[in-house]
Amino acid sequence: MAAVFTPIAPRRAPAGTTGPLAWARANLFANPGSTLATAVIALVAVLAFPTVFRWAVSEAVFAPDANACQAARGVGACWGVIAEKWRLIVFGRYPFEAHWRPELATILLLGLVAASGLRAFWKPWLAILWLLVVPAFFVLMAGGWLGLAPVPTDQWGGLPLTVMIATFSIAFAFPLSIAVALGRRSRMPAIRTLCVLYVELIRGVPLVSLLFMASFLFPLFMPVGKSPDVLLRVMVAMTLFAAAYLAETVRGGLQAIPAGQVEAARSLGLTWWQAQRKIVLPQALALVVPGIVNSFIAMFKDTSLVTIVSLYELTGALNIALNSDANWRPFKIEGYIFIALVYFAFCFAMSRYSLWIEKRVSAGKAR
């Protein structure tokens, strides 16, 4: 019997799976809920856009012209305030003609931090570089040497102060947190209790009160004039605060490492320290990179709290820069938007770095 040819009904061509239309279908209008959300967000954006655009761009004053800004008040933004005051915002009360010093010092420090974040640079010379750059930072900032005019710490301010407090607090808090996390798992009761007490006490207190204690209370217990510089005291307070939180993050990583790893290391004759350093910590820290960077970002932003003890880092410097000049005082919102962008740039960089590290760490483990 001959096979009978029965044509099947023609089908519609498949819908495109690439291109902007397909993307929109998949991401914006996949189901009724998604379509509704898209519509609401689009509506809000369309309604808000003209107002925001008028204020931020079309009616805004970009020139550092105080009279034009006054005229545009309430209608358009005054970006001229940034053009006029940016050096005071970025460098605070530091002597105006010597701004190149904090500028150079900050660039050096940021360069060092960036280099330290790359594994390829983890060579002995990096430690030497730290030993050179850190003193160079303080010589540039403080002066009184190599013909640089001395600048007392109460005149340091702005972004250099923010970067400095964040960098040194993080640099000291990180190793301290590892020690505390290991201590909390120690078999020696005295060490364990001490570490638990430290973490619970510091975590139970707001950072603001720690800063007050470091700044106002601590000198009362010291002989008059013998108290270390307030900047140092504040950095110690920040370090202790951050290390308590970081220690718990690190401890989480330590607990995720199976006991068999230490047993294998010990059975090979490695000492407890060698086992921690070579086997446990590399794995534990890799697991908690997101949490660690989270803490670093929080610390960077927490530096803005030192304003309350009269250290004028970026946020504090903005206030001084604008309060001291009646012409520009009304335009703080523009100033805040500016420093918000500066904070965002740093925090976003850290968060991208965290993602990059995570990818590299998991690369070797793929099956």
Binding site: P258, G260, Q261, E263, A264, A265, R266, S267, L268, G269, L270, T271, Q274, K278, I279, P282, Q283, A286, G364, K365, A366, R367
Partner: protein
């Protein structure tokens, strides 16, 4: 019997307050002897061999390994551990290090061997377990059988006089058990003292000088494999053998 390389003298150990895991245990192992230890789960067989390199501490009695008594002296324990290699049920390779780095770690940091020589030694051991071509990979990229062979090579890198195997094939897929046992059998022919916790009875018959049956923290019966399997003396041994050989 010449001076034994391992001596247990009335060893008692408890987990917590109430679990008495080793009871008045006596054991002497001659240098070069190959011992297989079997017994039901919870009988203390893993604890016994983990006491030999002090991954577990005993509370009473004496354990002497290669002339060194195991007590609180950390340095002495580390010296013992250099003489004792151990292979675990779960392999316990270091996942963040390559196979080669897993092998060179202890020689470099414990044996103070220069890196180049440590690598040569590692490649030699990898060749011995027939896996040299995987040296640059990470452990999780290998099969279970390959990982366990790497673990054996790692334990051999410090040239131990004693090798401990804690159920080396229990975590393996059936088709990989043979490749691991073959490596251990080869090793057994080379004069190294071996203690192996396993239920692979064919393996026990092939290599063991002595089979030890443990139950409830005590050595119930020990004998050469021929008599142990064919003429078990105690009721408990017969019962156990019928369970593991009965299917």
């Amino acid at each position: 019997m010449t001076q034994p390389i391992i001596t247990f003298d009335k060893v008692n150990k408890w987990y917590g307050d109430d679990f008495h895991v080793l009871r008045d245990l006596d054991l002497q192992v001659a240098a070069g002897e190959r011992i297989v230890i079997c017994g039901p789960s919870g009988s203390g067989k893993s604890t016994l061999i983990r006491c030999i390199n002090r991954l577990e501490e005993h509370q009473q009695g004496r354990i002497v390994v290669d002339g060194i008594e195991l007590a609180d002296d950390v340095k002495a324990i580390e010296r013992v551990r250099r003489q004792v290699g151990m292979v675990f049920q779960q392999f316990n390779l270091f996942p963040h290090l390559t196979v080669l780095e897993n092998l060179t770690l202890a020689p470099m940091y414990v044996g103070k061997v220069p890196p180049k020589e440590a690598e040569e030694r590692a490649m030699e051991q990898l060749a011995r377990v027939r896996i040299a071509e995987q040296a640059a990979k990470y452990p999780l990229q290998l099969s279970g059988g390959q990982q366990q062979r790497v673990a054996i090579a790692r334990a051999l890198c410090l040239k131990p006089r004693i090798m401990l195997f804690d159920e080396p094939t229990s975590a393996l897929d059936p088709e990989m058990i043979k490749e691991v046992l073959d490596v251990i059998v080869e090793l057994a022919g080379q004069g190294i003292t071996m203690l192996c916790v396993t239920h692979e009875m064919g393996f026990a018959k092939a290599v063991a000088d002595r089979v030890i049956f443990m139950d409830q923290g005590q050595i119930v019966e020990e004998n050469n494999p021929h008599d142990f399997f064919d003429h078990p003396k105690s009721e408990r041994t017969r019962d156990f053998l019928s369970k593991i050989l009965g299917h």
